[in-house]
């Protein structure tokens, strides 16, 4: 059984006068330890798809089953807990609580999970070391570069010990060098922790780093290929 099974997923937005068919009949399975990119032009439905997989949005029809649990029928109140316990999130920007230090940001999600103080501290410091920020543990987001902030976000995503990490355009606000190094980090964590990463991008250089590329166009999967990732030159 695949980690994530997506079947005949549809998402139609009825908020405007003309209904928008953001995701059309998407079916795909995602296995454990995949390093997968969802790509496509702007408006192709990447965010919508990721949101549905992450339990942030409900499909109009079809279903998402994660580890045998159907998210599409889960009530909102349970979804929050599910997200907290099973899914790590990295967003495009402004992921962090600005008044908290890097360490406190990573600790906070474990606080929500009810992890005790000592363990929270240890795990946060350890994770920040893993993402290469041992020197910036007590810096606040405003004192960190965009790339460093995204690393903290990755550390936070892993802190909750999720089943997989969803990253919607994690490199969109970064310069090439920071983007590459963030992907290096994700790749390393993918290896080391057998952690599944699903990220979206419309940046070709980022795309090339994936081992599986799912291409969307007008909400439809137009290509789904397994690739040998090009290493950074």
């Amino acid at each position: 059984m695949a980690l994530i099974e997506i079947t005949n997923l549809d998402r139609i937005y009825n908020t405007s006068a003309v209904p928008v068919h953001a995701v059309r009949d998407v079916t795909c399975n995602i296995e454990k330890q995949e390093f997968m990119a969802v790509v496509g032009p702007s408006g192709s439905g990447k965010t919508t798809l990721l949101n549905i997989i992450g339990g942030l949005d409900k499909p109009t029809s079809g279903k998402v089953v994660i580890d045998g649990i159907d998210l599409s029928t889960m009530p909102q109140s349970k979804l929050v807990d599910y997200r907290l316990g099973h899914i790590g999130f990295v967003f495009q920007a402004y992921n962090l609580i600005p008044v908290f230090t890097a360490r406190e940001n990573v600790e906070f999600i474990m606080l929500l999970q009810g992890v005790n103080k000592k363990e929270r501290e240890n795990r946060a410091i350890d994770l920040l070391k893993q993402v290469g920020l041992s020197e910036r543990i007590n810096s606040r987001p405003a004192q960190l570069s965009g790339g460093e902030q995204q690393r903290v976000a990755v550390a936070r995503a892993l802190a909750s010990r999720p089943a997989f990490v969803l990253a919607d355009e994690p490199t969109a606000n970064l310069d090439t060098e920071s983007a590459e190094s963030l992907l290096d980090l994700m790749e390393e964590l993918n290896d080391k922790y057998v952690m599944t990463f699903i990220f979206s991008t419309h940046d070709a250089r980022v795309m090339r780093r994936a081992r599986r590329i799912v291409s969307l166009q007008d909400g439809k999967i137009v290509e789904d290929k397994v690739v040998t990732p090009e290493k950074k030159q």
Binding site: T47, N51, G54, L56, D57, S77, V80, D81, R83, L84, G85, F89, F91, Y94, N95, I97, P98, V99, F100, E104, E107, F108, I109, L111, L112, Q113, R156, A157, S160
Partner: protein, 404 residues
């Protein structure tokens, strides 16, 4: 950590938070200080009335207040007085022989209440001795010394050492006369009182009445204000055949006024807090709107609505309490300052005098009120947080992240 997050969040927009904190500070300070002035005025009115004449507890023959006849004295009064002095919780007691009569000078006459006292005993209970503006407190070798109020002195055209003739009903129903010498003129805060009361030595009255010592009224000071009711209840049991009343029973309007002042204060501060509530709501709403994306991220990563709700309420409470404690702090300081130095009201004392209040006002607020005030602030903060917290918890995270 949630508490520290809430506290830090308050200071993200310093200017905005400081403005509402300042508003709360000034609002509460104003409320507290004006309440303290009211309470202080109230207390001083009560205190003045008590130490002028009322005392804490009075004992009469039953129904004396309905018929203040000379014959309505306390049976075996001297013995009763002696017994009362040994009751626990009583600091001092003074027997008064009270007769309604006339005071006449060569030029005029006026109806007065003649109060016969043992000067030294009376000194322990009330403070007329301290209100003398001329003469002395019965320190005279003149025959039949008398203390009169300034208002009466003016009315009857009397001066120190003037002769004044008192006439009153004796025990047989006839009229008795006594010629007295003014040895002291007192002035209290109530001109009405000064006009209507004269003090003579009890011994002189007994001589004129040709009777054994009789007492119509026993005035009692309890050891502490807190135990007045207790002592009264105790006396009620010991002297069930007599009328035992505390100052609250005797001057219910005064007791009622002092009680309503407290209630009035809560209403007053409540209205101020109610007005501030809108300000707090507005500040919190702006703060939530500023953070929609951030709150969206927090809900997305798994922060429960209840936790978001608690966080917003905590922010509101911390914000309000900061302002509240500043306001209470400034209030306590000003009350402490003016409580020691007093506020001089001589400029408007004319109108206050007939009212029975002092001209130097000492603002005062009981400690209990600060505690209740703090609770009121917390309640207001919670109410103010409801709308912003509702807004924060009803965010759709995907929308919040997408659009902001």
């Amino acid at each position: 950590m949630l508490l520290s997050l809430a506290w830090k969040n308050i200071w993200r927009n310093k200017k905005r938070s400081l403005i509402i904190i300042a508003a709360i500070t000034f609002g509460l300070w104003g409320g507290i200080f004006s309440s303290a002035i009211m309470v202080g005025m109230m207390e001083s009115m009560v205190e003045t009335a008590i130490s002028r004449d009322l005392s804490h507890i009075q004992i009469h023959k039953k129904d004396y207040d309905k018929d203040k006849d000379v014959r309505n004295f306390i049976p075996d009064g001297i013995n009763v007085l002696d017994n009362i002095r040994s009751v626990k919780g009583i600091r001092a007691a003074s027997g008064r022989t009270k007769i309604i009569g006339m005071a006449a000078s060569p030029s005029s006459s006026y109806g007065v209440e003649i109060i016969g006292i043992v000067p030294e005993d009376s000194k322990q209970v009330t403070d007329i001795y301290a209100k003398l503006i001329e003469g002395s407190y019965f320190k005279s070798d003149r025959k039949n010394p008398i203390l009169i109020g300034r208002k009466l002195a003016e009315r009857l055209n009397l001066k120190l050492r003037s002769k004044v003739v008192l006439s009153f009903q004796n025990l047989e129903g006839g009229i008795a006369y006594i010629a007295c010498r003014v040895v002291g003129i007192f002035k209290t805060n109530s001109s009405q009182f000064d006009e209507m009361n004269v003090y003579v030595a009890q011994g002189d009255m007994f001589r004129i009445l040709e009777s054994d010592p009789i007492i119509h009224e026993i005035a009692i000071r309890s050891e502490s204000v807190e135990t007045i009711d207790l002592v009264r209840d105790n006396l009620l049991i010991l002297f069930s055949n007599l009328q035992v009343e505390s100052w609250k029973d005797m001057a219910p309007e005064l007791a009622y006024l002092s009680q309503t002042t407290g209630i009035y204060m809560y209403i007053f501060v409540g209205i101020i807090l109610f007005a501030l509530l809108f300000g707090i709501t507005n500040t919190m709403l702006m703060s939530v709107v500023d953070r929609i994306r951030e709150l969206g991220v927090l809900i997305a990563i798994g922060m429960k609505k209840s936790k978001v709700f608690i966080m917003i309420v905590l922010e509101s409470v911390l914000l309000s309490l900061t302002g509240g404690f500043c306001g209470i702090g400034v209030g306590v300081l000003t009350i402490a300052y003016y409580g020691n130095n007093g506020i001089d009201l001589t400029a408007i004392s004319g109108s206050l005098e007939s009212f029975g209040a002092t001209t130097i006002l000492y603002p005062f607020l009981p400690a209990m009120m600060y505690i209740i005030l703090t609770i009121m602030i917390v309640i207001a903060a919670n109410i103010a947080a409801l709308l912003p917290a509702w807004k924060a918890t009803h965010l759709v995270p995907s929308e919040a992240i997408r659009t902001y």
